[in-house]
C-alpha cells in the first residue's frame, strides 16, 4: 500500500478500498520503523495525523471529499504549521511553535490532506546536501553513504523511501529539483509568484518558491492544482487563473521543440550522467519531439550572480532571528550587544553565518554598486537569454545536477564545489521560470534526473511533457531495495 502514488491513493480512497485512517497508519508504521535511519523527519505528528485522517474519512462519508482528501503528506520544516514545531533545520528555531499556518499548509489542509510530519532540511534552506541541518544529515535511500541533495533533502528522502507519498519542498536555487534528481523522484518548482510564499520562512525572497515533490508528474499536477493560486498576503503572488493541471497530461507532444543549451552539456558534467540524459532525449525524439541546439550565453554568470543576490537578501531576512521575541537566546546575556552576538553566533550554523557575512558585505556602503547592483544587471541578462530561447523552443532540457549523489562529507570542506552542484538549476530561479526534475536513469545504482524548464506560467506544458516521458519509461517506478 505504501508504494502507491497520490493518484492511486486518491482512487483507492474514492473506491473505498481503504480508509484514510488505514493508509495513514501504514505510513506512520513505516516512519516508526525506517525514518530514524534516514534522519528524514524532524517532527512526526502521529496523533494529529490520525485525527486529520479520521476527519477526512468523515468528510468522505458525507460526500464532501475532494481528490486529495485523506491523502498523507509530509511538509518541509520551512513551512509554518500552527501548534507544531517549525525549525527550518536550525537550532535558532528548535523551540519555535508557529502560531499560524503557512498559505501552502492552509491550502493543503483545506484540501483535506493529512500531515504526517515535518521533514529535515538544510539550515534555513542553505545547502545542497542536507548536511547543514542542525538536526544532522539526511541519508539518500538509494545509498545511505550518499547525500540526498538539498535543501529539501528530507522531503526528497521521505518520498523516495516511501515514508510519505508526497511532500512539499521549496526551491531557491535548485532545492526541489536537485534533491529530486539525487533521490530519483519528480520535483516541480513552479513559476515565481504561482504559489504564495506567506508562512514559508524566507531565505532569498526574490527567488524562493514552493512546489510539490512526488513520485510522478501526474501527482505533481494534482498537487499543483491545490497549491497554486492568488493570496493577498503575498504581494509577489500573481493573480492569474489556475488551470486544471491534470487536464493536458495526455496531450501528444509530437512536434514539441526541445531546446538543448550547449552550456548545460559542457565541462563539469559527469560523462555518465551526460549519457543518461542523452538517452532520455532520444526517448523524446521517438515520441516525435524535435531537439534544437540553443545557447544561453550568460549562464556562466548564474552561480556568481546567485551567490550575491541570495546572500544579500538572506542577510536581511535572517535579521529577525535576534533572540528577542522568539527562537534561540543565549544564556545570561550581559547586555544587548552580547545578547545579539551570542544568540546569533550560537544559534546559526556555519553555512548560514557564511552567507549572512557574504550578503552583509555585498550590501555595504562602497560595495553595493559593485556587487548587488551588478548582480541585478546580470540577472536581467540571464532572463533575457531564456526569453530569446523561448522564441525558438517550447521547453528547455538538460541535466538537473552535474553528478549523481556524492558521499556525505565529500564536499563539506569545499563550499564552492558544493555550490556548483546547483549550476544547472540556479539560472531558472534567477529568471523566475518553472522547472522540473524527473527520474531518467541510474549511474552506479544512483538516480539521475532530467531537468525540464518551461516558459512563464507554462506548468501545464511542463507537466504534460514530463508525464508523456513517464508513460514510456519506468525510471520513476524504481524504488530502493532497502525500502520496498
Amino acid at each position: 500500500m505504501h508504494s502507491k502514488t497520490v493518484a492511486e491513493i486518491s482512487a483507492g480512497l474514492q473506491q473505498g478500498e481503504f480508509s484514510s485512517t488505514e493508509i495513514t497508519q501504514v505510513f506512520l508504521d513505516r516512519i516508526d520503523r525506517l525514518a530514524e535511519g534516514l534522519n528524514c523527519y524532524i517532527t512526526v505528528t502521529a496523533e494529529q495525523a490520525l485525527e486529520a485522517a479520521r476527519k477526512a474519512d468523515q468528510l468522505r462519508s458525507q460526500g464532501k471529499a475532494g481528490p486529495l482528501t485523506g491523502v498523507p503528506i509530509a511538509h518541509k520544516d520551512i513551512f509554518c504549521t500552527q501548534g507544531v514545531k517549525t525549525t527550518c533545520g536550525s537550532q535558532m528555531l528548535d523551540n519555535f511553535i508557529s502560531p499560524y499556518d503557512a498559505a501552502v499548509v492552509e491550502r493543503l489542509n483545506d484540501a483535506g490532506m493529512v500531515m504526517l510530519g515535518k521533514t529535515n532540511m538544510d539550515e534555513f534552506a542553505m545547502g545542497s546536501s542536507n548536511e547543514t541541518s542542525y538536526f544532522g544529515p539526511v541519508k539518500n535511500p538509494w545509498d545511505q553513504k550518499a547525500v540526498p541533495g538539498g535543501s529539501s533533502g528530507g522531503s526528497a528522502s521521505v518520498v523516495a523511501s516511501m515514508l510519505a507519498p508526497v511532500s512539499t519542498g521549496t526551491d531557491t536555487g535548485g532545492s526541489i529539483r536537485q534533491p529530486a534528481s539525487l533521490c530519483g523522484i519528480t520535483g516541480l518548482k513552479p513559476t515565481y509568484g504561482r504559489i504564495s510564499r506567506f508562512g514559508m520562512i524566507a531565505f532569498a525572497s526574490s527567488l524562493d518558491q514552493a512546489g510539490p515533490m512526488t513520485r510522478t508528474a501526474e501527482d505533481a499536477a494534482m498537487m499543483l492544482n491545490a497549491m497554486a493560486g492568488f493570496d493577498d498576503r503575498d504581494s509577489t503572488c500573481v493573480d492569474k487563473e489556475v488551470p486544471d493541471y491534470t487536464a493536458n497530461l495526455s496531450d501528444s507532444i509530437k512536434g514539441l521543440r526541445i531546446g538543448l543549451p550547449t552550456e548545460f552539456f559542457g565541462e563539469g558534467l559527469d560523462p555518465a550522467v551526460a549519457d543518461t540524459v542523452q538517452a532520455a532525449l532520444q526517448e523524446y525524439e521517438k515520441m516525435g519531439a524535435e531537439l534544437v541546439d540553443i545557447s544561453l550565453p550568460n549562464s556562466g554568470l548564474s552561480v556568481p550572480t546567485y551567490y550575491v543576490v541570495a546572500p544579500a537578501e538572506c542577510s536581511s531576512n535572517l535579521s529577525r532571528f535576534d533572540g528577542v521575541r522568539f527562537g534561540y537566546r543565549c544564556d545570561s546575556p550581559v547586555d544587548l550587544e552580547d545578547l545579539y552576538k551570542r544568540s546569533r553566533g550560537e544559534g546559526f550554523g556555519e553555512e548560514v553565518k557564511r552567507r549572512i557575512m557574504i550578503g552583509t558585505y555585498a550590501l555595504s556602503a562602497g560595495y553595493y554598486d559593485a556587487y548587488y547592483i551588478k548582480a541585478q544587471k546580470c540577472r536581467r541578462l540571464i532572463s533575457d537569454d531564456f526569453k530569446k530561447a523561448y522564441e525558438k523552443v517550447d521547453v528547455i532540457m538538460g541535466p538537473t545536477a552535474p553528478s549523481v549523489a556524492f558521499n556525505t562529507g565529500e564536499k563539506t570542506d569545499d563550499p564552492v564545489s558544493m555550490y556548483l552542484s546547483d549550476i544547472y538549476t540556479i539560472a531558472v530561479n534567477l529568471a523566475g521560470l518553472p522547472g522540473m526534475s524527473v527520474p531518467a536513469g541510474f549511474v552506479d545504482g544512483k538516480p539521475v534526473g532530467l531537468q525540464l524548464i518551461g516558459n512563464y506560467f507554462e506548468e501545464s506544458k511542463l507537466l504534460n511533457v514530463a508525464h508523456q516521458y513517464q508513460q514510456v519509461t519506468d525510471w520513476h517506478k524504481q524504488t530502493p531495495d532497502a525500502f520496498k
Binding site: 509554518c80 528555531l93 552583509t360
Partner: protein, 477 residues
Amino acid sequence: MWETVIGLEIHAQLSTKSKIFSGASTAYGAEPNTQACVIDLGLPGVLPVLNKEVVFMAARFGLAINANVARRSIFARKNYFYPDLPKGYQISQMDHPIVETGEIEINLEDGSTKKVGVTRAHLEEDAGKSLHEDFQGMTGVDLNRAGTPLLEIVSEPDMRSAKEAVAYMKKIHALVTFLEICDGNMQEGSFRCDANVSVRPKGQAEYGTRAELKNINSFKFVEKAINIEVERQIDILESGGSIVQETRLYDADKNETRSMRSKEEANDYRYFPDPDLLPVEISDAWLDEVKAGLPELPQQKKARFIEQYGLKVDDADVLTSSPSQANYFEALVAATSADAKLAANWVVGSLAAMLNKDNTDIANSPVSAEALGALLNRIADNTISGKIAKEVVEAMWQGEGSADEIIESRGLKQITDTGAIEAIIDEIIAANPEQVEQFRAGKDKVLGFFVGQVMKASKGKANPGQVNQLLKQKLSS
C-alpha cells in the same frame, strides 16, 4: 557674525485605521503588545502587504506642495538591529521616494513670506517602543506602534533661525491636518521632527558641520532646542573648537542637548529594494482624481477669508492655522447676522484667551459656534454692548445657559430708552459742575469722564452710542 542653517525632517503619522503593511489597528494608547499581529511581530514567514491608503495620502501631500509625485516609487529595507525593530530592518523608501521636490511658503514675524524647499517625502513604517523603566535593569518592548505608517518630510536647509523653523513646522502641521492625512497630535507623537542645525560665519558659502537633534515633539521645544544648540555651537567655534557631526538629544527639563552617537558610530544601513514588495505604480488618471478631490488648502482658505470676509491678514492667518479654527470660524459666521470681522475678533480674541486659560482647544470649546453666534446677534441688534457680551460669554462658558437666557436672567438688556438715559445724564451733570465747566471751556477729553460715569451708573447697560450723543447735546446746551 554667525548665520544659522536649519533643515527639518518631519515625521507625520498618517491617519489610517490599519498599519502600513498589516491589518492591525493603529489606535493610540492600547495595552502594550495588544495591537501587534504576526506581521508586526516579524514572525518567521510573514510578509508585508502595502496599505493603499498611505499612497493616496502621500500623493495628496505631494500635490499640495506642488511636488513631483513619482509614478513609480520603491520600498527599501533599512537594516539595523534594535529590540523595538522586530524584523531587524525598517521598510522605508530610499532612492525612489513617492514625493520629490516641492516647496511651501512660510510667514515670518515681520509680515514677509519665504519659500522653503521640500527635498522629498517618503513612506515608511514606525518602530515599536522600548520602555526602560519599571523592568529592574531590563528593557520592555511594546510593538503596538510597530508598522504605523509615517510620511517623512525632508526640507532643504533653507531656514535661518529657530523662528523660521517653527514657522515652517507650523505650516506643514496645518497642511497635513487640512489634508486630513495626519491628526497632528504632537503629544501622542503623531507629528514630530528632527532638526539638522549648523552655524557658519555670515557670508560663507559652505555649510558648517551639523548636529541632528532627534525627536522633538512640540513647537516650543523646537525653538528652544535649536536656540540652545546654536548657542552651544557658537561657543565651541568662538573658543577655537570644532563641531562634531553627531546625533543629539534635546532634554526639555534641563534645556540642553546631549550627544547620542557620533558619525563614527553611525550604522551602515545597507539599504536595498525590499524583494517582498512590488514597486508602487501610480497612473496619471489616478493622480488627477486625487487632485480633483483635494480639500481647500490653508493658503487658499486664507486668501478667501481676506477676500470674502474682509479679514485682516493676521486674523486670517490665525483662523487658517488649523482645520478646527477655520471650521469654527465659518460655522460662527453662518450662525450669526453680525459682521464677519466681529466674529473673527471674537475667535482670535476672547475665545482664544478663554481656551488658552482652560488649556483646551477650539474643537473642544465649551461654547459652540452656534451658541456664540446667538450672542453676537445680540450685539448686532443692540440688545447688549460688546462689554456686556464678555460677561455673558463667561457665564455661557460656565454652562449657565444660552446667551438670551443669561441676558434675561441677569437683566443685562441694554437701556435704549432715551428718557431713561437722559435721567441718568441729568443726575451726573448735576453732580459734577466742575467737569461741566471744563468741558464748556473746550476740554473735550472730559466727555470720556462723563461717558464712564453714565455707563457706571447704568451698570454698563446704557447704549454707548446713545449716551455719547445725548451727553454732547446736554453739555453743549
